[in-house]
Symmetry: D3
Amino acid sequence: METVNILIEALPYIKKFHKKKILIKYGGHAMIDDTTMSSTARDTVLLKYVGMKPIVVHGGGPEISRSMNKLGKEPKFIGGLRITDQETMEIIKMVLVGKINTDIVSKVCVHGGKGIGISGKDNLLLNARKRAPQVIVDGETGEETTIDLGLVGEIDSVNPEVIDMLTMNDYIPIISPIGVDDRGNTLNLNADTVAGDVASSVDAEKLIILTDVPGILEDPNDPETLIKKVQADEVMELIDQGIVKDGMIPKVMTCLQAVENGVSSAHIIDGRIQHSVLLEIFTKKGIGTMIKG
Amino acid sequence: METVNILIEALPYIKKFHKKKILIKYGGHAMIDDTTMSSTARDTVLLKYVGMKPIVVHGGGPEISRSMNKLGKEPKFIGGLRITDQETMEIIKMVLVGKINTDIVSKVCVHGGKGIGISGKDNLLLNARKRAPQVIVDGETGEETTIDLGLVGEIDSVNPEVIDMLTMNDYIPIISPIGVDDRGNTLNLNADTVAGDVASSVDAEKLIILTDVPGILEDPNDPETLIKKVQADEVMELIDQGIVKDGMIPKVMTCLQAVENGVSSAHIIDGRIQHSVLLEIFTKKGIGTMIKG
Amino acid sequence: METVNILIEALPYIKKFHKKKILIKYGGHAMIDDTTMSSTARDTVLLKYVGMKPIVVHGGGPEISRSMNKLGKEPKFIGGLRITDQETMEIIKMVLVGKINTDIVSKVCVHGGKGIGISGKDNLLLNARKRAPQVIVDGETGEETTIDLGLVGEIDSVNPEVIDMLTMNDYIPIISPIGVDDRGNTLNLNADTVAGDVASSVDAEKLIILTDVPGILEDPNDPETLIKKVQADEVMELIDQGIVKDGMIPKVMTCLQAVENGVSSAHIIDGRIQHSVLLEIFTKKGIGTMIKG
Amino acid sequence: METVNILIEALPYIKKFHKKKILIKYGGHAMIDDTTMSSTARDTVLLKYVGMKPIVVHGGGPEISRSMNKLGKEPKFIGGLRITDQETMEIIKMVLVGKINTDIVSKVCVHGGKGIGISGKDNLLLNARKRAPQVIVDGETGEETTIDLGLVGEIDSVNPEVIDMLTMNDYIPIISPIGVDDRGNTLNLNADTVAGDVASSVDAEKLIILTDVPGILEDPNDPETLIKKVQADEVMELIDQGIVKDGMIPKVMTCLQAVENGVSSAHIIDGRIQHSVLLEIFTKKGIGTMIKG
Amino acid sequence: METVNILIEALPYIKKFHKKKILIKYGGHAMIDDTTMSSTARDTVLLKYVGMKPIVVHGGGPEISRSMNKLGKEPKFIGGLRITDQETMEIIKMVLVGKINTDIVSKVCVHGGKGIGISGKDNLLLNARKRAPQVIVDGETGEETTIDLGLVGEIDSVNPEVIDMLTMNDYIPIISPIGVDDRGNTLNLNADTVAGDVASSVDAEKLIILTDVPGILEDPNDPETLIKKVQADEVMELIDQGIVKDGMIPKVMTCLQAVENGVSSAHIIDGRIQHSVLLEIFTKKGIGTMIKG
Amino acid sequence: METVNILIEALPYIKKFHKKKILIKYGGHAMIDDTTMSSTARDTVLLKYVGMKPIVVHGGGPEISRSMNKLGKEPKFIGGLRITDQETMEIIKMVLVGKINTDIVSKVCVHGGKGIGISGKDNLLLNARKRAPQVIVDGETGEETTIDLGLVGEIDSVNPEVIDMLTMNDYIPIISPIGVDDRGNTLNLNADTVAGDVASSVDAEKLIILTDVPGILEDPNDPETLIKKVQADEVMELIDQGIVKDGMIPKVMTCLQAVENGVSSAHIIDGRIQHSVLLEIFTKKGIGTMIKG
């Protein structure tokens, strides 16, 4: 009986998001083990079956670093961005496209979804350009050092044609966040940014970022201080106040930008919790932080 | 959390019946009050939203009799069939099409479904012909009396074109069980038979008959003796044994015929219980009796 | 030979209205007997076969009053509007949807048209809201009385989706003029207004109102004084002069509004005359009054 | 009023032939003057507007002979077939495609039809092969002479693709009866045969041959002896009896073959009578001879 | 090996003009013999097979004059325009539509293209109106004479519907340059103008005029002085300087107008050279003069 | 001029294979350097632009072995099949899907094709099952050893739905030869077999296997002994005679099977030669060995 009452409770949400695109970012830190990933994949398939159009963008930072270590290369970061030489780029591609993406596709298909893996290189989905070198200021001496990040890119434009074809034909696209420049070179992209840009370009209703924290916390050590809902125009203040800081800043900025570009709401939720996507979509109070325009 | 676990449990059924047509017969005796009807309508809409194609056929016997009484006409039955003169036929049409059908449409629309009411007269959906007069044998004298039932019909053919158009365009058709003969005369039809014939003609996956008993009971006074599943080839035996008898016989025969004509399974369930349709579809053990080929 | 000459004469009209929507209002007072209705239905089917897209809205006032009388309820009107309590509303629905609509559908189908009956409740076709209570001023004392008309509504919006689907698929929609409010309650609507609003919302070429007078007469007692054509901007003057008065006012206002909303011409004609629709469409001089923008 | 009664009388025929293809052969002898041709074109357009799909094949023998004479070439025939040298073939093409076809197209367009002229060369519509030389037996001496007819062909196959595209898009195709062989050479074809073969290949409902006699007459000098209807299996007998003879034989054989290949009925009528096509289609007794399977 | 290198060299052009419409004008003076025409037809088919949408407009002046002579009529011109009486118009139609057009269609079909011939009369493709009489000033006396050119027309509007249907269905339309006025009269049109107007109305990428000179020459007697490329805004200057003169003026003006109406580039090339169309499209330096906006 | 002559020579092949699917297997041994791969990718794009539907399956054996060595794992083979433990499978996936596939996609996109990479896991394209263990017989002792190859699979079925969608929408699918079993496990597949099975399942016209030998040679050391054409029924004889042996056997058997399953012809050609695909398709004598049914 309960089964049924709950289906009935979910009905308003099912109706509200009927035929709407839901962009889910599977974070590298959220994909902690096979069970969690499998569960997330099953939730994604469920969204498809109850009438939504889920699209997945995945990350993979920790796995990339593990593979680099295995091959005797030390991962290095400047301002959160991975320094990417040609060899690192090869490893990134192999891990993201060859390993993580195919794993997610498998899990989606096992649960009955028509999963299909694509990367930013397919039909030039993610057109990018090399980022300018970073300028680092030495806190003590004030000396500036310019560091070339290598094959790190930023998105110029998203070509949503392939995604539109796939969702229209009932496929669930799983997207690896690598870009391609005008000459066919592969570039390393930030997965959150990719998720946000794709969400905007396909007119997604929701952008849901699965990560390894409960959302925006007033006190990072106290999950009870979770902020459930933030208006777009309050975001900058939260950053100024230092409540949003460090690695959370780019995630929140991605959400803000997506919302400003027409996505109805963006969500930062804890992907390590089973069924967090469904809890965020199908319950009134949700589970993480929602940013709304 | 429970919400979500249950959605996940429902997923296999949602997948199994994806894009399948489900014919639900709302029985006159099952539509006991406004709340039950509203709840059944909501369940029907939910089936639509999770990807099935529900089609409704409704009855209305008790309501028709009430209206006849109000107008000073006494309802009369021969062998379960209502003797139908021209005036009675008018009342039947008004009650079925004008009252019950529009009420169901309203409830379906209020819950977000694209409900649309049709009758067997629309585009000659239910082509029928007048039934032959009934021959009644007096138990004592053995005397035979021939009684003309009036405008009581039996279905010649179903023209599913209009239903196909409606389901393809995401509508939920609500069908009143009246037929039309070759000259445009309206005929009174048995709603169960209509449900079965329509189910076959549109290649429905399931036929679900909502009535006012729990299903087929070995002992009609003991709900514990419910028979959960009957093979098509066991049906005649149950009738021979007297376990299926009286008003249950035509319902079971309708189920049997539907299954023989390609419907995967037919169900007789208690429509007075809230969400009985969902319980039958989304739980492993179901709630009534299933007849399978 | 004549047959053929006349077909040839009709060709310019057939070309002119090819694939155009023609909204025909069957008035309650025009449906005087079975033969007239059958003939009007056949004319409607002919329009379909020679390439137009007829849509029917019907009334039914006299029939409703007859049914109320039969059930011992006295019809009451304030300013031409029927006071509609819950029980009256039930009778209206049953008569309009269950009786008159199904009768027209039958007649259209018998003549080879794909007739299908819908009401304003189907897929929320006619969204309406309860009318404000009427204020009646006593002519002598000047005393004001406020009378609640009950379930009498006015149209908020027309949702033409279902009509578009039907006409595109070669059906002839027959529409009962009842509305539905936001909570699913049925409301009694003026059939002329419904005809006008539907005509505008589906971009009809013509609105033809069948009634029981020859059109607008300068002298109501002299059919020879029929005004054949009225410009939209002359309508108010005709009302001011008292030439258009009483029950004709709402009809004329409906025509005026339709024309102002894009319908090319609106016609008031005598539905009691056989083939009046065809005479109005296929002959140069027509038969009633045409209002043009 | 008459106008309208006649439309109503035509309705059963309009319904019966709704969306059916009607192949009309405009015979060279039937196109006696501009007025007749214009009238026939208008009738053809009318068929289109009341829902049929007319297709025209035209002849042009007399006009071709006139043009040959003007250019100082004497027309010669063997067994009804025009001896066709290269220069004659050029004249035939110019007269049929350049003159008669464009004239018919103009007349169809002027009356509001979407006329479009094609010939058997367009997209290899009429694939043909050179006819074997004719053997002529001298009645007196019994001597055999073999005469090469030149560029006279017989149809190998009809490629209806272009006609299907045109009728589906509401065009009225006007077809010139010239064929093309495997190497692109133009061949002179019998227009009646072309009409029959095209009718079969597009699944026409009717083949109507307009000529300069009233139909099959028992006594060729007495129009009162017109045979209204011939069963397919009676045709050979009529030929054996000499009732069908000379130039009528190929016409009747074309009709017979069309009917045997699935055309419902074939008609030979007098194209010089105004509106003969309409009289044949829209009146019960018709005007010429109908051959039916 | 060479074969393949050259295909590879052609690839950029194949890509650039993929699915683009290319309007090719076959000039009467360029159709010097059967071999040249056949070769041009084959080139046209090749364009279709490598993904473009070729459309042909043909001329036929010399052939028309030959036919007139044969019939004892002397061709007369005023300012390059043929004086066209009714009889001349008949000859023009027969030569263009019946002879030249069908010949091109044949050649296109023989090489595997789906050629189909149409004229400006089909579905009123080229709506035209009679030109005003020409006023001729006597150089010596200054006397003005007004000469009516007869059935010479100028284009009012192009109705590209039929061309769109044909190219969408992979046909290659071959268009005869005759027009039709509002009453169905045929008018003689300038073929270059027709080519330009059709090119604009179907949004062609290129207009290629095949003629009997190499292009625009600075010195008409020296092919080495060919001007390869002209900007639209330089055209008038070339005329002022007398470099473009006589019969070249209308061709160049047609090109200019096409380019101003959205055609990307217009080309005047020597159609007597084998494969000139391909040389112009598939080689960097081209073969004639290109006019670009 | 040559450019154009060669295009004209290619026309018959372009016509013959218009809209036909061409399956090209890029062999691991054929992808010897970046220039060769880029050139092959460009040729593939050219096929698309001239109207064919190319589909690519790639191998990658040498690259996989290189990556294994880099990670300190020694590649081992039994009967030509790579022993594949879990870790090796991960490397295979990363190299095939993450490296080689994305590289080909890039090259195809750079040359203007709509390249999209998929693997056998996407929408369960290549359903496979673990191969039975291999039984090795010791040549000397006759002792049998059973060796489990690990995650090596054989294809059960191909689900061409995704390929059909892609080719219909003008994409060029690039397929990595890994399979998926019923539980979502990845299996290592033979790329030639995949190419053959996919070719059959999508009704390809041609299967072209690019490898590092010129084709079937009578004397493997003498390229002059190339066999240009083999009938399907001659294949087994060539194997019996030892002319086809070792690694060539599976390639030839794949070709044979494809031809038996409806592929018109299969080709084994030297992928190291620039433009070998084009030479095989666009020249009469071809460049490698063709196997035909």
